[in-house]
Symmetry: C2
Subunit: 338 residues, 2 copies
């Protein structure tokens, strides 16, 4: 069954490999007769073109790579799903790779995807060692950044406005009379980590809130660090009355810790999460959060990449973020010390 080549097909159809190839690639310069005979031979032999051989010659693979930072993060799962569907519509196949929030693994997959000669690459860059990403950018392979960018590397990008949603969140908490807001930040190595933190600082300053460095802890966008950060903040002698976490997984970690410590979210503590993850809607209390549109981000990334492949130079796209107020935030409790 395996090892059926186009030569076998051609022989069976009584034509040359050249003609068989033309039929298979939809080249119009083929007669109805040979088209029919080749198609029948293909069916009879169960022929499957070897993509390697094909793209070796034609230098196109109709395949794009999507290198995300964490499959287990629902935000990226959604993004990947939307991107893949959009790619399918454009006739592109998506090979998904998971950097697992590790630069080393990112670089490894970068190598693999380049070696696979994908037609283009969508990348959620990890911070740290950028050598491979720089190589990618200068290689001329169509590529776009999604969600995060790397300063100094000029590639088209789709990102979210990391500032406006955060500003709304801080203002919302300020209006509820919170003065000390704890912040569980993403890593400084990620642009999203830096931008959200900067937005947090700017907003607390603008609202005249306390700017105590003790109120900020740095995590790595994974649940464990969110938990550790929340614990550290909540065990402060002068603990914050509200908490903002900078991504979905760290939010989950923070929630877990609140429960362990017996802190009632929405009453004893106001919590603002990040990312509009399904689970956050059905939690009780439902989580107030900063939402970004993962689906739109995924789709846009593919469209941008498609443009780059077509030789265009698309402008960077910045999608909005917004605060969704639900039940995990409330007025600060005055006089009651927990």
């Amino acid at each position: 069954m395996r090892g059926v080549t186009i030569r076998d097909v051609a022989a069976r159809a009584g034509v040359s490999p050249a003609t068989a190839s033309r039929v298979l690639s939809g080249n119009p310069a083929t007669s109805a007769l040979s088209r029919e005979r080749v198609e029948q031979a293909v069916a009879e032999l169960g022929f499957r073109p070897n993509a390697q051989a094909r793209s070796l010659r034609s230098t196109r693979t109709s395949t794009i790579g999507l290198l995300i930072s964490d499959v287990r993060n629902p935000f990226f799962a959604d993004l990947a799903h939307a991107a893949e569907q959009q790619a399918l519509e454009l006739g592109l196949i998506t090979l998904l790779a998971n950097a697992n929030e590790s630069v080393e693994q990112q670089n490894r997959y970068l190598d693999v995807l380049l070696a696979q000669r994908v037609d283009g690459l969508i990348l959620v860059p990890q911070g740290g060692d950028n050598a491979n990403v720089e190589m990618l950018a200068s290689s001329g392979l169509p590529a776009v950044f999604v969600d995060r960018v790397i300063d100094g590397i000029d590639l088209p990008s789709v990102t979210a406005d990391n500032s406006s949603g955060m500003g709304e969140a801080v203002q919302h908490l300020a209006e509820l009379a919170h003065r000390r807001i704890g912040y569980i930040s993403g890593p400084r190595s990620a642009s999203t980590g830096r931008e959200r933190f900067a937005a947090f600082q700017a907003a607390t300053l603008a609202c005249g809130l306390e700017q105590d460095p003790e109120l900020v802890v740095f995590g790595d966008f994974q649940a464990g660090s969110g938990a550790a950060g929340a614990r550290q903040l909540l065990e402060l002698s002068n603990a914050p009355t509200a908490l903002i976490a900078a991504d979905g997984l760290m939010t989950m970690g923070a929630v877990r810790i609140c429960q362990e410590l017996g802190i009632r979210i929405g009453e004893d503590l106001s919590l603002v999460g990040y990312d509009d993850i399904d689970a956050f809607a059905i939690m009780r209390p439902a989580l107030t959060l900063i939402a970004q549109d993962a689906d739109e981000m995924g789709r846009t990334a593919v469209r941008l990449l498609h443009q780059v492949i077509a030789g265009e130079e698309p402008e960077p796209v910045v999608l909005p973020t917004r605060l969704m107020v639900r039940k995990s935030t409330g007025p600060v409790k005055t006089g009651v010390n927990r």
Copy 2:
């Protein structure tokens, strides 16, 4: 930068392409001198071997395909993550593809992955049109089923014991005096859907519970169908006092509906979920659920595939499932009609 071939490297190093190739593939029949010169040339030119050309000749790609049914289902996200890490340890690169619970899309990706000449394939088969899967099985390409199987197609598999956890769950509910248990089933097209349903029926029979066909609704393993199913069951004139959902996403849908209908989970209604998803642990009340080890399943699938690639014929592996009792199940309320 692009288009550097091994010929360029060889020329720069002053050796033949054959020697350059040997150095690059770690063939011991190379002198220290040429090894050094080739490596330097590679570095200077930024040479990247073309995987297509390589595997065209050597028929190995060191790449495996992992075709899951839904990236957005945390169970499969966990499974994919674990599989990928295990593959990396064995020196294999995982290309992840997402069937999106659709046979058509599964078949499309099956074509692509075969054309990419992956060394092996791990597949969560969709039900329905099996033609492509049969083709796969008879093609001789190393392949294993994970999570689900297709009857009549003899491939090594890693599945969960869909029976024991379900049995425990029904018994647990029976002990809490529930007599009418609603069941939100997976599709009959999936082996897991069928097996869990069969286990549910067997267990209700064994425990002497009601076997009303009205108590069973069929979903498609996605959140929407879980919601629709839960609504249908809970709006029954003679509604069940307990609900079991057959996968994680349908469980989430069911929870959402309970909240919409104002039904207090764990008090008005007992709910047993499926899959040990992080979110289920931090929900209030924490969900009682049937847990399977997604990580172990992913790792085992890769190990099995590795064995198949090595020419062995591994036995099917069945992993245990177990009931984790938390707070969403409680004694049936007698006398109180909601």
